[in-house]
């Protein structure tokens, strides 16, 4: 136990300001999320008659709020809008933690020369690395868990009647994925710091590397999602007068045309192929020209590629595993770097 405390004390003393910055950021964000969730709840409780129709987070399109409800409705939407914006912070926080907590961890040991002391004492540099990372990883995990829980809490306060376990709304901005991405980016930050060995350059480089790696991962996952997605034709109003079929809980993978032969093209792909998709009808049919529209010669249907909300948990787990694997790979590379490099 005293051993763990020694490492914790070392980590704290070495990264006091970074830890303070992250704690303040996460505590502030989490507190704001909880406060907004309470605000939304209390607004709904104060005027259930005015806000009943927007319990799912969207105002009923079929009716405008009564004049007497306009004040509270407006206040509700302002609060909800702020809450939505705040949820972007729980998307960005994991990346920030990788840069702020991960990058300086080994870099400062190399920069300050203390790695010489530690590596001349420790029979295993890997053992040193793991113990050195443990506190920051656990600390980061705790903070990320706070963000994951409070972001879920806030989302649930906005979408009162929707089961968010089957809903891709604010995907990646709440829950487990926030934690997994955070741990992955911390490990990436540590790797960059070990490679560069100077604190400030490592922090700057880590921001770039983490951005590039996760942008690449996002592109890769988009392709993976596309392979698994289903086509959902979109119509604003069916010929029979049915309402829009916009799937609110699904993950929108791409937007484009389902051609008459069943192939799906995003609008940018259609443009690249020279497919003119200039006119659309309320029933979702897409036409190349006004004349075609008048003649009823359509080329396909306005459509989304979607992954239905029921697969939310499956994708969260899949994407979390990807983020954690990236972290594990980065950690393994860090072990190689630390094992081979000179200490100063």
């Amino acid at each position: 136990m005293s051993g763990a405390l020694t490492w914790a004390r070392l980590s704290y003393r070495q990264q006091k300001w970074e830890l303070l910055l992250v704690v303040l950021g996460v505590a502030g964000t989490a507190a704001a999320m909880v406060w907004l969730a309470i605000m939304l709840e209390s607004l709904r409780a104060a005027s259930p008659e005015c806000l009943e129709g927007i319990a799912d987070g969207f105002v009923g399109a079929e009716q405008a709020p009564a004049v007497s409800c306009q004040g509270i409705t407006s206040q509700y939407f302002e609060t909800e809008s702020f809450a939505s914006t705040l949820l972007y912070l729980s998307w960005a926080a994991p990346f920030g933690m990788g840069v702020i907590l991960g990058a300086p961890l080994v870099a400062r040991e190399l920069d300050g020369g203390t790695a010489q002391l530690a590596w001349s004492l420790s029979p295993s540099r890997i053992g040193w690395l793991l113990r050195r990372i443990a506190f920051i990883a656990l600390f980061g995990l705790a903070l990320l868990a706070v963000l994951a829980v409070t972001s879920e809490l806030l989302a649930a306060a906005i979408f009162v009647d929707r089961p968010l376990g089957e809903d891709f709304t604010w995907y990646g901005r709440r829950g487990l994925l926030v934690v997994a991405r955070g741990l992955g980016t911390i490990a990436l930050g540590v790797l960059v710091g070990a490679l560069i060995g100077r604190v400030l350059p490592a922090v700057l480089a880590a921001a770039v590397v983490i951005g590039v790696v996760f942008a690449g991962v996002s592109l890769g996952l988009d392709q993976w999602n596309r392979a698994e997605a289903t086509i959902e034709r979109r119509f604003l109003e069916a010929e029979a007068g049915a309402p829009s079929n916009l799937e609110l809980t699904a993950l929108g993978v791409a937007y484009g045309i389902e051609l008459v032969d069943g192939e799906f093209l995003s609008y940018s792909e259609a443009y690249d192929r020279g497919v003119e998709a200039n006119y659309g009808g309320v029933d979702g049919k897409v036409f190349e020209s006004e004349a075609d529209m008048e003649a009823g010669r359509f080329i396909g249907y306005d459509a989304f590629l979607i992954i239905p909300g029921e697969r939310y948990t499956e994708l969260v787990i899949r994407d979390s595993v990807v983020a954690l694997l990236i972290g594990a790979f980065a950690l393994a590379l860090t072990g190689l770097v630390v094992g081979r490099r000179r200490p100063a």
Partner: protein
């Protein structure tokens, strides 16, 4: 502890070139027997730190090999490190940690680290265990680094210019602690310095490193004896050295009729080594 006379540190054809193409060591062969304190001296950039760091496993040889107690540190680092205590050039302690924290950390990192021994050494010097590293003087920081190295109870101590930034009193104190510990434990210490007078009082053996190669590796007594001259040989010289062309180099330092100092012997080696290098 090692048996006296047994080779504890070894370098074979050791050459080290840094990325920018600078050769720090040009293929040296060296054996250091167990026991006592050896001074590793040479001018700046002679390769002293590089040589020590290859033994610690911090620098990989470009050519050749090194061994610590018969173990290649690049093949089995943990086994080699188990024989070594190391004091780096600048004591590089953790700013935010106290002296006691450093000893705790060392105990966590090094199996068998003798914290009580290290603490007792520091207590003798009136260095408070609860004082932060950043509040210690340069001399005290060096003493903490030495106490950590001694606390490993390693049979071989490598000290990389630990005296460079210390004032004369702190140097004297540092060497006193080192000598006391090495004599008491029967350890082997290799102490590098570019100022011979710093280490003269403590060392039994001398390695002179110049131009990336070993110019001398001998006991101090033998080195002194080998170059001693009588007043009849040269009235104002204190030592003589062979030169590349077979003639003798006389080290003339004021009035003769006194024995050469170690500093002067080293100076003679460096001078003749440079002549040899120039001739080569």
């Amino acid at each position: 502890m090692s048996v006296d006379g047994e080779t504890v540190l070894e370098a074979r054809g050791l050459a080290k070139r840094y990325r920018r193409g600078v050769w720090a060591l040009g293929g040296i062969d060296l054996e250091l027997p167990a026991g006592g304190i050896t001074a590793l001296v040479g001018p700046n950039a002679a390769g002293k730190s590089t040589l020590i760091k290859t033994w610690v496993g911090f620098e990989r040889p470009t050519r050749g090999s090194v061994r610590v107690a018969g173990i290649d540190p690049w093949k089995d680092r943990s086994a080699a490190l188990a024989h070594l205590g190391y004091v780096p050039q600048s004591p590089a302690l953790y700013d935010g940690l106290s002296v006691a924290d450093h000893l705790d950390l060392a105990r966590q990192l090094r199996p068998g680290f003798d914290r009580d021994y290290a603490r007792a050494r520091l207590a003798q010097l009136d260095i408070p265990a609860d004082r932060g590293a950043r509040d210690l003087s340069g001399g005290q920081q060096a003493q903490v680094a030495l106490a950590i190295a001694l606390g490993t109870r390693a049979p071989i101590l490598l000290l990389d210019e630990p005296l460079a930034s210390l004032d004369p009193l702190a140097r004297r104190e540092f060497l006193h602690v080192l000598t006391d510990a090495v004599r008491g434990d029967g350890a082997t210490a290799l102490l590098s310095s570019h100022i011979v007078t710093d280490v003269e009082q403590a060392c039994d053996r001398l390695i002179v490193l110049g131009v990336g190669r070993v110019l001398l590796n001998d006991s101090v007594a033998d080195a002194m004896a080998a170059h001693a001259i009588s007043a009849t040989e040269h009235p104002n010289a204190v030592a003589s050295f062979g030169s590349p062309d077979g003639s003798r180099i006389w080290l003339v330092r004021g009035a003769g009729d006194r024995p050469a100092t170690l500093d002067e012997v080293v100076l003679g080696y460096l001078a003749s080594g440079r002549s040899t290098a120039a001739a080569a």
